[in-house]
């Protein structure tokens, strides 16, 4: 698949510059675009249960978001930002160094450079192969504790002050701290939505995938060649069994977030989803179709984002692109605090009781 197939026009204005609560909306009052083989519908997120059949299994990401952006100081560069993407163990972390929230790297740094993260000694060990803005960094101290004291949520230039607090980044399902950036597909869920889903016979199960810093645009001309960095994931036994049972019984499995699709696909052994834990850098694209899910709830992704290739393997590319054209026309908002998209492989079930 060519990079150009991930491109589309999205007016700059169509981006959420803060949480919907600041726009006078509840979390579950963001818009919901529903794309199926019968076309596209527009709703509010709290209408979600209307579009899912009883027996559906929703799989959510239970990762909680860390205040992973830390002030840093480099002798040659002065004050910089260290956005901590992934903890590797043994004092080693994958870190994105940048000048500021709105000025990305790569910065002119070298292997062996000593610098400070929140006043603590740190050292550049090696650049990540193929992704020169990301560095392996060694820090003797426990960066989680440093984050509690000195960290703030990673943010980018499109957010407006006052900037959201870490609590505003936690989803209803957040339980295991570890994500550098919010697994944002789960953010519109509220207790009343979950209650309505359960009342309709829709079950929820959890995986964990600790999302790293945002991947940039796909750079490789062939999407399949794009380098991804690995992220920690775990598919617990109960979830593996629930997904396998749903597949065998023909009940739909809907992933809440691209992270969930990547975790489930990483645990798929050709016949079933098994319990699994480790690091994954699985790249999903139409040449590597999704076997574990029939649908996806996700935000709206930027032009050239690798996530779009994943969307194209949940539903045909034309349907996704049509949906995005509608979203632009209807003024949907992009980014982590923006609107939501339910993408189903098949039609919405015919049985449609009133919400």
């Amino acid at each position: 698949m060519k990079k150009i197939e991930l491109d589309f026009d999205r007016p700059r204005a169509l981006q959420a510059d803060g949480p919907p609560e600041r726009r006078g909306l509840e979390r579950d009052e963001v818009r919901l675009l529903v794309s199926t083989e019968n076309g596209h519908e527009h709703a509010r997120f709290r209408d979600l249960p209307r579009f899912l059949a009883p027996g559906t299994l929703l799989v959510v990401n239970t990762s909680a978001t860390l205040p992973a952006s830390l002030p840093a100081w480099h002798a040659g560069l002065g004050p910089i930002l260290a956005n901590v993407s992934t903890q590797y163990g043994g004092g080693l972390h994958l870190v994105e160094l940048r000048k500021s929230a709105s000025e990305p790297g790569p910065l002119p740094v070298e292997v062996g450079d000593a610098f400070e993260i929140a006043g603590l000694p740190a050292r550049l060990i090696a650049p990540h192969p193929g992704l020169p803005r990301l560095w392996f960094v060694r820090v003797e101290s426990d960066l989680r504790r440093v984050m509690e004291r000195a960290g703030s949520p990673i943010r980018y230039g499109y957010l407006e002050a006052p900037y959201p607090a870490i609590e505003e980044y936690q989803t209803l399902f957040a339980r295991d701290p570890g994500s550098a950036e919010m697994p944002s597909a789960g953010r519109p869920f509220t207790q009343r939505v979950v209650d309505a889903l359960r009342a309709k016979g829709i079950a929820l199960a959890g995986i964990t995938l600790h999302a790293g810093v945002s991947s940039h645009e796909v750079e490789a001309e062939a999407v399949e060649d794009q380098v991804l960095y690995a992220e920690p994931f775990e598919v617990p036994k109960a979830t593996a069994e629930a997904v396998t049972a749903a597949r065998q019984e023909g009940r739909p499995v809907v992933a809440v977030g691209t992270t969930v699709v990547r975790a489930l696909e990483s645990a798929w052994d050709g016949e079933r989803v098994r319990p699994a834990a480790g690091f994954t850098r699985l790249m999903i694209h139409p040449g590597r179709p999704v076997k574990t899910a029939d649908g996806l709830i996700t935000g709206l992704h930027d032009p050239l984002a690798s996530h779009l290739a994943l969307l194209y393997s949940i539903a045909p590319k034309e349907r996704v692109r049509e949906g995005y054209a509608e979203a632009v026309r209807e003024g949907y908002l992009w980014h982590e605090f923006g609107d939501s998209h339910l993408l189903l492989t098949r039609a919405v079930p015919a049985e449609r009781p009133a919400a």
């Binding site: 590797y88 163990g89 043994g90 004092g91 080693l92 994958l94 292997v111 062996g112 050292r123 550049l124 060990i125 090696a126 990540h128 192969p129 193929g130 392996f136 060694r138 960095y229 690995a230 775990e234 617990p236 036994k237 990483s266 319990p275 699994a276 834990a277 480790g278 690091f279 994954t280 850098r281 699985l282 790249m283």
Partner: protein, 247 residues
Amino acid sequence: MNRTAIITGASRGLGRTVAEFLAAQGYGLVITARGEEDLQAAARSLRRHGGQVIALAGDVTDPDHRRRLADAARGLGRLDILFNNASTLGATPLPPLAGYPLAELEEAFLVNVSAPLALIQEVLPLLEESGGLIVNISSDAARGGYPGWGGYGITKAALDLASLTLANELSGRWIGVVTVDPGDLRTRMHQEAFPGEDISDRPLPEVTLPFWAWLFGQPPAAVTGQRYQAQSERWEVNASALEAVAV
């Protein structure tokens, strides 16, 4: 006390890359390779990171040399990683098994199977004291049955089985044993397997760094017995570690 590693075949290719990665993190290193000059050049480069580097040129099939390597690690005070990387392709250009020179097959067994096992035997007590990890470098030739790769592949298959057996025998003790297939890399060894061919499409050994970063961050019990592909799209801990995580 700084963590330490023994790395064989450390003067170039994958061994050199892993040595640089560990040295940059402050590991003390004992490195070896047969050629004195290349090894000392590697040592000078590694010492720029400020840590201790002991470079001992020699042949891993020599028992005295292996003893010297173990003694050097003992002198550093502990041992966290034994990186069994030194290998021979056996006869080159790669002959089919039907006509394989048996003397060279025996030599390949000595270098690729007996020597790493002997080095493991030599440093096992040191590794156990620090809860260390044994990494045996394998190859997809151990499983592929690729024509021409039989001699080398047989030795790597034997090393795979040695690793798994050791992992089982040592389970419950604080030692991990893994084999790693690094995948095709642009190294001198790979070039010798494809004499005269252009191998510039293969990635440099640095492509495997994310895997080593992950592996060396895991507790030995979580990975022992596994066979990893350093360039694959996922690396998993073993099932017993997963149960432990779930509880």
